[in-house]
Symmetry: C2
Subunit: 497 residues, 2 copies
């Protein structure tokens, strides 16, 4: 049994290595690669994907897993039990999908991406429609690989948020929607002066500030870097090699919030347990749990009163032209200003959820053939009006704004809001466990915060599915109430500060 386990670990460690290498190549592609290298890079990434898929789906993996079945006791709490459970799940999902279909999905996504860029630039949905149709058709074929299912969207969702169903998401999202729509209606009339958030924010100063906030929040020295890119993300080649990215707009200080967000992702990757880092259980639990970490640092820390009591002087000093006459209270009101808008990635904490709910419902309607793809812009615009009260002036700022559908990521969007909801649950448990945490943040101390997250969330890695991870960290599975209470208490009665 021990030999078999060692063999399995060696085989899966290779798969993990290849996946990490792929992530590094993607990071390079989005930060360093000379533009002309794109075609070769796509080809190399496809080669790695094929290699990792072949290693995972090889009969030998199945044979080893069969031999190790005795380890999979239902109460198996050991790393080895978790490993065999997670590996079997990965294996059984992977073998259902023919390599040819996977390759075709990757190719179609790669071909659709530049078409989306063009279509968005021209604000012309019709140009995007054929490649979208192809992506959706391939997802339907993907779903079919899993036999007859009640809800095809479950299959897609499972790739991003394992063991989570559309019905569960629907329940949570309906509860959120019922509260958010009236709250947004109430807040949309409130006038807040925030003109000083627009102006002159020199990129070199933004870069200095972004690096200083990562240093302040904390990561081991010489184990991270921060680079500019177009669409910010966090990645890395291992716990000691974290790559954060952000994007600098010389007219706003948005890079600071995006850096805090990516720091949250990066810290999760950084604090994953070293001893299982090369195994399939050594990664993050799900995209939702990942997002709970980024939203926690971006919002619950990064838009909070205690943090800004500590940090605002640095920002004022960095941009005296913008903030010399602006006191902390006005600054906090401005960065927490709620205003329904067109673009998800620029939305405030309150309206953000409605952007995600819209996409989740729409994706489900698409997959279940309840919406014609050709009619997407009309449906999108009508729902934006219903949910957020905004009128979409063109497809570029409407249905074409996100890249996800172009690259075949259907089922990904819900994780943004699931993560946001979970971030508040995690935060409340953290404050209950460490009541002095807000006082520490006000002193610019983040050690205990990082520590708590490491022990209660990051240490669980991918040993359990996301809801079990959350339950072990907080005592409860996902629950919208703390999130809604947080929004009401922060935004309902008056402005934050």
């Amino acid at each position: 049994m021990e030999d078999t386990l060692r063999e399995l670990k060696e085989r899966l460690a290779r798969v993990t290595d290849i996946d990490r290498i792929s992530r590094l190549l993607s990071w390079d592609q989005q930060t360093m690669m000379p533009r002309a290298g794109a075609a070769t890079r796509a080809h190399q990434l496809a080669t790695l994907r094929r290699l990792s898929h072949e290693l995972l789906t090889d009969d030998e993996t199945g044979r080893l897993l069969d031999e190790l079945r005795p380890l999979e006791t239902p109460d198996g709490n050991s790393d080895d039990a978790a490993l065999v459970r997670v590996a079997r799940r990965d294996y059984e999902k992977a073998v259902r999908v023919p390599g040819e279909l996977r390759a075709e999905m990757a190719r179609a996504a790669a071909q659709a991406q530049p078409v989306w860029v063009e279509a968005r630039a021209a604000s012309d949905f019709r140009r995007f429609l054929p490649v979208l149709e192809r992506n959706i058709e391939l997802r339907r074929r993907y779903v079919e690989c899993f036999g007859t299912v009640d809800e095809p969207y479950d299959i897609l969702l499972d790739d991003f948020e394992p063991e989570t169903t559309s019905a569960q998401v629907e329940t949570i999202f309906d509860e959120i929607k019922a509260e958010l729509v009236p709250l947004i209606g109430e807040l949309r009339e409130r006038e807040v002066e925030d003109s000083f958030l627009q102006g002159n924010f020199p990129v070199d100063r933004q870069e200095r500030l972004a690096k200083s906030v990562v240093e302040l929040f904390g990561m081991r020295q010489h184990s991270w870097r921060l680079d500019p890119t177009e669409h910010p993300f966090a990645s890395g080649a291992g716990v000691d090699d974290i790559r954060l990215t952000t994007s600098y707009d010389p007219q706003t200080m948005n890079s600071l919030f995006s850096t805090m967000h990516e720091y949250g992702h990066g810290l999760y990757n950084h604090q994953l347990p070293r001893e299982i880092t090369g195994l399939p259980i050594g990664g993050p639990s799900s995209l939702g749990i990942h997002e709970s970490q980024s939203r926690l640092w971006e919002n619950l820390v990064g838009r909070s009163v205690p943090f800004w009591r500590f940090f605002y002087p640095s920002v004022q000093e960095t941009y005296p032209e913008q903030f010399a006459g602006v006191d902390l209270e006005r600054f906090l009101a401005a960065i927490n200003h709620v205003r329904p808008s067109l673009i998800r990635t620029k939305a405030d904490e309150v309206t953000y959820g409605m952007h995600v709910i819209l996409r989740f419902e729409l994706e489900r309607d698409i997959v279940n053939c309840r919406v014609e793809l050709a009619e997407l812009p009309e449906v999108w615009n009508a729902r934006m009006h219903d949910y957020l009260g905004v009128d979409v002036p063109d497809d570029a700022r409407g249905v074409l704004q996100d890249t996800h559908w172009a690259v075949g990521l259907i089922g990904y969007f819900p994780t943004y809001l699931l993560g946001t909801v979970m971030s508040v649950q995690i935060w409340e448990k953290l404050v209950a466990d460490v009541p002095e945490i807000e006082g520490e943040i006000e002193q610019g101390q983040f050690t205990e915060l990082r520590q708590w997250l490491r022990v209660h969330v990051h240490a669980l890695a991918r040993k359990y599915p996301p809801q079990e991870t959350l339950r072990r960290a907080t005592g409860s599975t996902i629950d919208a109430k703390p999130y809604l209470a947080y929004l009401r208490s922060k935004y309902g009665a008056g402005v934050a500060a």
Copy 2:
């Protein structure tokens, strides 16, 4: 036959992809990687090496090659014939060496590298001795995998300069030595004023100048980048993704020459024929041919009168504090000043060869057990005195100066001088074919030069061994005479300008 050929190509294209990906990871390691990522990176590189080795040495590769034997006609000039010939050679070499020995060699090299860094810092050869012994012992075992051979060094050399023997190298090097020793003796007495090459060379200006020289020499837009590193090299992920590196010393302008050198390597990679780029015949012919390209741009262009007639004004303008009162003639005399020195990488064109010859002879003596490893410093110092007339003050500037032996690269050094010799042969053929080339360089025009290299050298890629490549490019195999004549005519009679 066609199907078999396609299968072989697919299999070998994967090997090529993996090797290219490894090269990109190494580039990242040396330019971007946070320091703490080193251990994980070493592990990931080992995984890729194992994967590529397994794919290449799989029985299936052998079976395909056997079926394709009819293609290997001796006069087979087609790409397919070359492919099968090259692939068989790679395969037959690879299968002789057990994976375990290869892994051990890689591990020993990885372990020796930091020991070398420490030993050099402390200038203490004794600290380096045990890891060197281990590296040499492993090379002996590697040689043994190839059965009984007359000259074990031939096996090692073949990995860097295929189908080239120690005896051939010895003949060439002896001829060179016989000329260089007296020439150096003559030149060492010559006084040249070059104090202005030391001083204040701000790094940002060096960087601007280095990029401008790459743009001037020419590469397709958006297909290259130049980054700082400790030990300059050129690498890349494909013909459209070239990564040049250089290192900036704020007290000298050496980065400019190192950039021209790496440009030569990069241009070779950049101009390899696109249609075979994914196959084993699509790479460079050998390290010697590679070096002929870097030395051609660094020396035959970059230290020439025509080039500096064009470029000196830019350099004067960039560093007015250093060169305001220095005319072109004095500048040329200074950059071509011959002075025996301790460090190979900083040697001038004339003395450089003696550094390489010393290492070649020493490596051969080591491999043939004619020199005790423990006595290396004494032998080194004595030969440096004989060959260059310099006294080595310590091991750091003596036997410990290069990293090659620490990372197991035995048999690599000769390619530096072979390449330098071939660079002059190639240059002479080029000037004969395109007599106007020197006039063009004086106008800052490099299109025809790049073109000629592309058609006559780069297009041959790895279809032929290096000597056949050289013969097809110039009509002759390696010959020291043009090189020696060049040195005599440039340095023997008087200074360059």
